[in-house]
Symmetry: C2
Subunit: 344 residues, 2 copies
């Protein structure tokens, strides 16, 4: 089968690989129907060092697929079922999964290898979410349904952990797919003032469609000053940090209101950060967030997609086949594409 393998920064190749096989009785093999490239895939695309023995990394952690082979311990599904899989798989029965935190499942881990014809899903019974029978390969809803795997669930996690509701003002930092879907999520949770910080007009325009009430293109101190201007000098109750770089963290500190919450879902590309009296402590700022347990949000987020109320799949602006994935990485890296959909 064809699969996309990353060997080093900037080096993604389509290669012929063996179709994955069941390794544990809790596995399922899916035939990939739709996958995509994630903003977080750009982190290794920028800085991955070649492995010592030349081996590569099978890329892709977001997938909708049809069940092709079922492990012997997987029940409640059948061959041919169309399912969406969270980027963080888990058994959905351990104490953490039961509390909605599959990203800390005792049997959990992160999906890999979805940018391929077939992919193995560990802990498949707990992880897979079956799509309604009237959804098939040709459904126009597939892109939106695929966002349940990661980016919509991640934006929603940011908003939920941030405590967004109808009384909170919100700043969203980042106009990538997660940032835009954090806007959509804040709107869904009732926020009336949603400030989107981003510099790419085509993206921030989509953010306005998703519910942003204000857009700030400026960054750093200038961007913070604009947030203050829009909020009576106070900052917003919640900041959804959807980037993961230190300047975004620093902007969050400036944009958040005393007593407010910074909710991070951009994977931090730093180890330490200011948390002392002058940054978080003195103003009782809460720092929260983390990898999103997207499986836990699927039931909740599905209906709005099925009935057409919300279209998170609008974040996909380029579609490629498996051969087009390396170009897809380049396009996302060059900001020519917001998010690339893969149809094998």
């Amino acid at each position: 089968m064809k699969a996309n393998i990353m060997y080093a920064a900037g080096d993604v190749r389509v290669e012929e690989m063996p179709v994955p096989e069941i390794q544990k009785p809790t596995d399922v093999i899916l035939k990939v129907v739709a996958a995509c490239i994630c903003g977080s895939d750009l982190h290794p695309y920028h800085k991955m060092h070649a492995h010592e023995h030349g081996e590569g990394e099978a890329m892709g952690h977001e997938v909708i697929g049809r069940i092709d082979v079922m492990g012997s311990e997987v029940s409640g599904f059948k061959k041919g079922d169309l399912v969406v899989v969270p980027f963080a798989y888990g058994d959905n029965t351990c104490p953490f999964c039961k509390e909605g935190l599959m990203t800390s499942c005792v049997n959990g881990g992160f999906m890999a290898g979805c940018q391929a014809e077939y992919v193995r899903v560990p802990q498949a019974q707990g992880s897979m979410y079956k799509l309604p029978d009237d959804i098939d390969e040709n459904s126009p809803l597939l892109p939106s349904l695929l966002t349940l795997s990661d980016v919509y669930g991640t934006g929603y996690h940011a908003a939920v952990m941030g405590g967004v509701n109808e009384n909170t003002t919100v700043t969203v930092i980042g106009d990538g797919a997660v940032g835009l879907l954090a806007v959509l999520s804040a709107k869904k949770l009732g926020a009336k003032k949603i400030i989107l910080m981003g510099r790419h007009k085509d993206r921030t325009d989509l953010g306005i469609d998703f519910g942003a009430t204000d857009v700030i293109a400026e960054r750093g101190e200038e961007g913070i000053a604009k947030v203050k201007e829009l909020t009576n000098g106070e900052g917003t109750h919640v900041v959804l940090e959807c980037v993961g770089l230190m300047p975004a963290y620093e902007m969050s500190l400036g944009a958040v209101r005393a007593g407010g919450v910074i909710s991070r879902v951009g994977v931090p590309q730093y180890v330490e950060a200011p948390v002392g009296f002058a940054s978080l402590f003195g103003r009782n700022i809460t720092l929260t967030g983390g990898p999103a347990p997207t499986r836990a949000y699927m039931e909740e987020l599905l209906p709005d997609i099925l009935d057409g109320t919300l279209e998170p799949g609008r974040v996909f602006d380029v579609t490629v086949d498996l051969d087009g994935v390396p170009d897809g990485y380049r396009a996302m890296d060059n900001r020519e594409a917001l998010k690339v959909l893969i149809r094998p």
Copy 2:
């Protein structure tokens, strides 16, 4: 009048000073009835540099006093009223105060100079809380009532911000007055498992009286391992960090359960700390806390003290007059005293 002034690390002196006067019409001058030395006073006691022109700092931010002089804009009180004052004063009318965050009051600040015969209270009308008429200078409840000024309210703030309830397991780091009252607060909020980390048996014994179910004397990795042993390898849902030093922060990271909360009320003596994937983010740990808006908790915490249900004042184990304050600092610094009560 007599007042205690700190000139440099280890150098506190009783001096003759002018009685403070009204500076703004929102001020009140109190005759001090009870004050105390705070664990946080030990931070400058360890590291304060002498000021260039030799001036000192008037010490003490916790006080119960009788109103002696009222500014012209203070109403709802009268001369002679016995009041307790939060260590962070405020107008109690600004948006932040209305939300219970007087520590971020737009007209707020921190009390100073309570270790004296008289003290000026800025924003007095919003800050002062009148004690019931049957409480006077001789009430055995005074020590407990004085803890409403800071340490009890601070321990309670830790527990509230940490989301402690009957379903959360709790680790309290630190066996100082705030740590012990964080234990009391966690118990009051219904926590059934409260692990107190501290090395001073007389203090941890009081912690057990206050509701601690387990005591861990070990620190660092050894201490973390003990917390894990007591919690099925998971850590506790909440960690109340009542120290403010980096080793306590690091211990919090180890003791907290995935998806849990670290609530800090120990004033951080560091600027940066680990917050990346391996520390907070990967396990969706929330970091919260800050200076406690103790005024906001007074109504809530008073009844248990008045009816004798709770005795937070048991944290005071030494009483001095104003001349005894420098010795009180030494005793607290040497861990001979847990917390020193001052009766001028």
